[in-house]
């Protein structure tokens, strides 16, 4: 088995595991015992694949971005996850998890959200299947991602503000976990990233793996080879990166580039670059790299992008960083904003702020003309327009 799959206890090397209070044990254990069987079940697969095609709109295109290619001096392909229903890759996971929740007999769905994309994707599938949906969102994030709050409400979800701590993704996740503790039998928690206790990181990675499965096929059709020189993706918790990397993990010829949010810069106290600033620690049930002070208190991250504003990373990514299988870069708020404008003007595609970090990384990768790069354009930028107009002084 690949070293990039977790062992029976949910560890990728020294990272992962399931550090959960006893109150969550039955729920997590039930999921751990059943998720692989359910995912492998032909009936599940039939339904999942049908929804991915007819509801999500997969496969998403692999687009050769000619003008970005000229700009960066290499061949750049964009994997257009921004064209998924709801506007980001997040729905790949929620479609799978809602089918899983149904098979576990759950009636009530909870989720956390940062940028709101996972919240919208969860509210969407709950509407589709007629299940109650409660989304926890940091009060600060509700303010900076208003369009997504409105979309969730339109879809019939209840959005509950998380008002503790920095009032962002970490705190929303705390509140979702507390809800799950308080509702131990009828509720399924749809985690939106490759974080949390085992088996969530593996479950979400498997459901996002469709991204790299498609990239391999599409790249072969376009270039004759399934293997690019680079796969580039942004990392907050790391679900779109996990999906884009998944079928390349055991291909050492393919360089994997994970792009974190530097915020104001990794040498300031306003950053979310976990692989640079983090040390091993426990967050949300997982042992991973974690931004914390010398006393083990979790520190408040900063990124202009709500989806990258998280003090940890998924345990798979911690392992990829530790083992140097992936190269980790960090991009400042400023450079991400510039990259968003560049992509909008050169390709007519307004990227999400999260994905803009990955685009900005192309500038610092020392690309050569012969290089083939696949960049996972994880989401579209509609939700970020207010920020773009303000920060780029376009209003």
């Amino acid at each position: 088995m690949s070293q990039y799959h977790p062992n029976a206890r949910g560890y990728y090397g020294q990272f992962g595991g399931a550090f959960i209070p006893e109150m969550l044990y039955p729920n997590v254990e039930e999921l751990r015992e059943q998720y692989l069987d359910i995912l492998a079940d032909p009936d599940f697969q039939r339904e999942y694949q049908l929804l991915l095609r007819d509801y999500v709109g997969r496969p998403t295109p692999l687009f050769k971005a000619e003008r970005l290619s000229r700009h960066f001096g290499a061949t750049i392909y964009l994997k257009r996850e921004d064209l998924c229903h709801t506007g980001a890759h997040k729905v790949n996971n929620t479609v799978g998890q809602i089918l899983l929740a149904e098979r576990l007999g759950k009636k009530r769905i909870i989720a956390e959200t940062g940028a709101g994309q996972h919240g919208v994707a969860t509210a969407t599938v709950c509407a589709l299947r007629g299940l109650e949906c409660i989304v926890y969102m940091g009060a600060v994030d509700m303010e900076r991602q208003k369009p997504n709050v409105a979309r969730m409400r339109m879809l019939g979800a209840e959005v509950r503000p998380a008002v503790s701590g920095s009032q962002t993704l970490k705190d929303a996740t705390n509140e979702a976990i507390r809800d799950w503790i308080s509702n131990p039998t009828d509720t399924h928690y749809i985690i939106g990233s490759v974080v949390g206790p085992h088996p969530y990181p593996d479950l979400v990675a498997r459901l996002q793996a469709v991204i790299s499965e498609e990239i391999r096929r599409q790249l072969r059709e376009k270039t004759g080879s399934e293997l690019p020189d680079y796969v580039v993706a942004c990392v907050g918790g790391g679900s779109n990166a996990a999906g884009a990397f998944y079928h390349y993990l055991d291909e050492p010829a393919v360089q994997l580039v994970a792009v974190e949010a530097a915020g104001h810069g990794v040498d300031t106290d306003k950053s979310a670059a976990t692989s640079v600033l983090g040390r091993p620690g426990i967050i949300h049930g997982s042992r991973t790299l974690l931004m914390q002070d010398e006393h083990g208190q979790i520190t408040e991250p900063h990124s202009i992008s709500a989806g990258l504003d998280y003090p940890g990373i998924g345990p798979l990514h911690a392992f990829l960083a530790d083992s140097r299988r992936a190269q980790f870069l960090s991009i400042t708020d400023h450079d991400a904003l510039q990259a968003a404008q560049l992509c909008s003007r050169l390709e007519g595609i307004i990227p999400a702020l999260e994905s803009a970090h990955a685009i900005a990384a192309l500038e610092v990768m020392n690309l050569k003309p012969a290089d083939v790069v696949v960049l996972n354009l994880s989401g579209r930028g509609d939700k970020d327009l207010e920020t773009y107009l303000r920060e780029l002084q376009l209003a």
């Binding site: 595991g17 399931a18 044990y25 701590g165 705390n174 976990i177 503790i181 620690g281 010398e294």
Partner: protein, 269 residues
């Protein structure tokens, strides 16, 4: 090896009152004096909460006291140092440290156990340290330092698992009263709670059983004690301390509201 839990149970087999206090709350230097006041007023076991930025299993009250304590500058290192003299004032009361795993791991489990043991701490509650991880990685360290783990049990915990947890300790078992967080209202379904406590009582476990989460006053304390050896109160005590002009008077008054003053132990304070 001394076991203050067993000693206590031999003296007093029923109605044990276990009180939880967030270290560094309400004031940075209140912890040891308040523990002494609580014991003098009649608490049988004391749980010292190590404040953490992200206390996942705790409700709003302990989230708030933890935040206040951290703002007051309380740290695990400082707490362990402060506790070094505590056995001079509280020789017999079983003392526990209750906190989350991350601050402990940053100090180092070995170092944590060494200092806790030197201070005379008897037990440790780390709700996000699963029993399996404890058994595989930390049991030897705990034993070497004569520290006892306390595991949580919920109405959903299977009998097989309860028995496994019972084997792993000789302090007590922490019976979470129902679904929810600390400080919640668990009295909604008294019937289900009593049935659960009776079911666990009938397992004839090695360890005494204390009920926690949502125990807030004399009525819920007495109710919980019907099918257990005692109960644990945290949030309600912290609420009583909140904004009190004299936290010691408030603490004494709170204990006496659960358990009327016992002249033999409370006269001196």
């Amino acid at each position: 090896m001394q076991n203050r839990f067993a000693d206590l149970l031999a003296r007093k087999p029923q109605g044990l009152l276990n009180l939880y206090l967030t270290a560094g709350y309400p004031g940075r230097h209140d912890t040891v004096p308040l523990l002494q006041t609580l014991a003098d007023a009649g608490a049988d076991i004391l749980e010292i909460g190590v404040p953490f930025s992200d206390p996942l299993a705790d409700g709003p009250v302990i989230q708030q006291t933890s935040t206040t304590a951290l703002r007051n500058g309380m740290t695990l290192k400082a707490l362990l140092q402060e506790l070094q003299g505590i056995r001079q004032v509280l020789p017999d009361t079983p003392l526990l440290l209750m906190g989350y795993l991350n601050p402990v791991l940053q100090l180092g489990m070995e170092e944590f156990c060494r200092q806790a043991s030197e201070a005379g701490i008897d037990g440790v509650i780390l709700p996000d340290l699963p029993a399996e991880e404890y058994a595989d990685f930390y049991q030897d360290t705990f034993r070497r330092y004569n520290l006892r783990p306390v595991f949580l049990i919920t109405p959903q915990t299977s009998e097989a698992r309860i028995r496994r947890l019972d084997e792993l300790t000789d302090a007590f078992l922490y019976l979470v009263s129902g679904p929810g967080l600390t400080g919640g209202n668990q009295t909604a379904d008294q019937g289900a709670q009593q049935a659960y406590l009776q079911r666990v009582a009938a397992l004839n476990l090695r360890n005494p059983r204390l009920v926690g989460f949502g125990i807030a006053d004399k009525a819920s304390f007495d109710q919980a004690c019907r099918h257990a050896h005692g109960a644990i109160i945290g949030s309600a005590l912290l609420r009583a301390l909140d904004g009190a002009a004299d936290p010691h008077a408030a603490a004494r008054q709170f204990v006496h509201s659960i358990r009327p003053a016992q002249t033999s132990t409370s006269a001196i304070s």
